[in-house]
Assembly symmetry: C3
Homo-oligomer: 347 residues x 3
Amino acid sequence: MATRRTLRELADYLGGSVVGDEAKVIAGVASLDDAGAEQISFLANPRYALKVATTGAGAVVLPPGAERHGRNAIVVANPYLAFAKLLNLYHVPAIEPKGIMAGAHVGRNVTMGNEVTIYPGAVIGDGVTLGERVILHPGVVLYDGVRVGDDVTLNANVVVYQGCRIGNRVTVHGGTVIGSDGFGYAPDGEGYYKIPQLGIVSIEDDVEIGANCAIDRAALAATVIGRGTKVDNLVMIAHNCVIGENCIIVSQVGISGSTKLGKRVTLGGQVGVAGHLEIGDNTMVGAKSGIAGNIPAGSMVSGIPVMGHKEWLRAMAVVPKLPELRKTVAALEKKVQELEEKLSSPE
Amino acid sequence: MATRRTLRELADYLGGSVVGDEAKVIAGVASLDDAGAEQISFLANPRYALKVATTGAGAVVLPPGAERHGRNAIVVANPYLAFAKLLNLYHVPAIEPKGIMAGAHVGRNVTMGNEVTIYPGAVIGDGVTLGERVILHPGVVLYDGVRVGDDVTLNANVVVYQGCRIGNRVTVHGGTVIGSDGFGYAPDGEGYYKIPQLGIVSIEDDVEIGANCAIDRAALAATVIGRGTKVDNLVMIAHNCVIGENCIIVSQVGISGSTKLGKRVTLGGQVGVAGHLEIGDNTMVGAKSGIAGNIPAGSMVSGIPVMGHKEWLRAMAVVPKLPELRKTVAALEKKVQELEEKLSSPE
Amino acid sequence: MATRRTLRELADYLGGSVVGDEAKVIAGVASLDDAGAEQISFLANPRYALKVATTGAGAVVLPPGAERHGRNAIVVANPYLAFAKLLNLYHVPAIEPKGIMAGAHVGRNVTMGNEVTIYPGAVIGDGVTLGERVILHPGVVLYDGVRVGDDVTLNANVVVYQGCRIGNRVTVHGGTVIGSDGFGYAPDGEGYYKIPQLGIVSIEDDVEIGANCAIDRAALAATVIGRGTKVDNLVMIAHNCVIGENCIIVSQVGISGSTKLGKRVTLGGQVGVAGHLEIGDNTMVGAKSGIAGNIPAGSMVSGIPVMGHKEWLRAMAVVPKLPELRKTVAALEKKVQELEEKLSSPE
């Protein structure tokens, strides 16, 4: 962090090529508007291409073919990705492990790797396993038998119920509950008899989960969040769901029990998905949509219930005109009746 | 748990009758696909009836009239309920009370029953009353004067504000907040003046509430969750609501202030209900619906705003065809005008 | 609290005028139905005007021009506001500061004002600043460098991430997470590369936030909740949003990244707002609406996507009649075709 590096070093880090002064020293990252002579900026949106001419930045990350206006430049295929990597390099502080701090509660038979940090107020049940460089913020609660991989950060007040598994390089934000009981009851004539929820939740590698989500444990097997999937805040994932790899699940989505998402599925904000469905790979679902049936791979759908996204846009354009449409139809009915009478009456 | 029992004993427990070997010993429960010779399975869905012939299970729970294919069987009216009861019998561990563990904080004048478990990091305010066999997981916070009945489990990081009451045999999942202030403000010309929220929340017996819900205290009296009602995750129940007995409230539902639900009302996922309404007994509301008026008992409604569920299904089937419908109407207008001109023109 | 005051004193407190016995002593507040001779009640809804004649209250707060039926009265412009103020005066207990209680964890270099209360189980990071009369309930977690103003109450299990700022007279309810990472990733061809979220959240003065909300930190600058704004439970506010002053954001609303709300905007329950939009001052958005474009000041909109609220009401009235409308149009098509054939056929 805050290290100074040459353009040559940065180009190697980003997998790009330098055009201009390879020895130019860079000390930080900023926007085209704000950057100074020791900072590097980036052009991701062609709309801002002219700012490359006027920026005060000491260098600019550009996509292939972009005009560099005489600037020192690093050319990469994906400048936005490069920007994220540079932010990480310059501005994300390295973490100093703090060990088990006073006020943390650790149960019996807990195994843990090196360089962990367990803050005051974190509570770890019996038989828990923690990998290397795990960070448990204050108020994190791991029930008995939870298994956590390497390089995992659980933010404050995250709860993981008994036996659930978290892979490597997983981050979970504050207040999220993983492994609460699935919502299963058998009507018994008077009320509801609880179906014991005996499964677990399994969070695979490289997953990030937002704040105040709820991911329920399976009835018998496992609710699975696939490798690389990113889940936003306040999302509900019900028991026995299997979410594929590299999905994007935006805030306040709810997915009902036993539904399966393929790979690289994107669910927009506040989408609801019914239970026992299959959503195919690469499907994109518009915000606020409701899904009540299976969706084939590669679909782009919207609406309650969903239809093709373009179809939905066209249909929604008609909705405000429905009262007028109804009036037109009523007028037509009258006119046609008059025409019919005119034609059938003996003249 | 893990006890071995004969089919005769199990039939007595379930209130069913044995067909086959009453002395057959059973050690666990599994699905028709997975069960072995010492396990019992069940047939709940007629679709799987043929699996009874091929299962490796030592016995099968069947509904009256189902073909047992020579298997040892227990016949009961509701095999799914029997399955839940057998899971409880064989696979849900008995709970060993742990008392007040080190790291728990207990206030002054706290009364508690026998066999309680209070985990490290739980914080109990002054004047709290706890019944028998109460379990408070880590991070549970009970404000002053909270009253909790017998056989209650509050999972990690559940919060109950001052004076709220929780009945017997209630389970609340992680992160849920009970008794936060209702959302009430009086505009004062410049901004908003807070209406003090002086009431409580009362959770009746046999209620289960999911993870990360929010149930607000009443302004003056009580927000009530009726006996036997089951609430899923991330549900919002506003101040002064009265929820009847044995309701099912699915995930991410929001109910506005002072609304009353009757008995056995089912609200699907992400339903929203406006304030000061009455929803009659046995009403079923489809997922994602929006309710802006009272609903008579026994209704089945869907939509935003709601209409009859079948009416909604038929209406939604037309929505994707609206652009075509509009085009058809425009063409008809033109044709009718031509017809009118033809008929009125002197030939 | 529980102090006895004369009508004269109360009228001065409320900025109203007494009609009747100025020396009448009042000991509490109740509804027109419940009030006794030492209590004061109020008439806010003209529907209940006749109850002023029959109430047992010792005095009534009335709007200008209301019939007092011989009662002692205080006349004010806004009796509902007066009611809220009287509840505060008589029934909200004064708070006794308790200091840093045993079981609270306070980091290094923490600065705090007078009369604070820090409950057991609260965890305060390094370099945190707390103002006067701050109350941190059990399980509150403040990461390093958080700054909190005067007269702030953070209820149990509230989490505030590093560097975030909370103004004066702010209340946050249980379980809310402030400053979690914004949902930002750059696709890298295989999966998603995290954009570091280096900004903060800034909560301005006089804001109240409900339970189990999630307000994400900005990528580079600040997510802002404007002065006087009230946020209900389970609300999601994404990174870089700027919410104006005195907005009302009802439960389960979700606002996507970088969207700006003007002043006095009201969003109904479960509304969703897309990212990078501007919603003008004084806009009102109906419950469950979805906003996908900018909204001019003073608008009143509803629907998914939104249209004018009255337009929406009229359009929704047609929806249940769509199947009938389609049938009518099909019948018309047939009739018109018959008419055309009749007219074109040689007779």
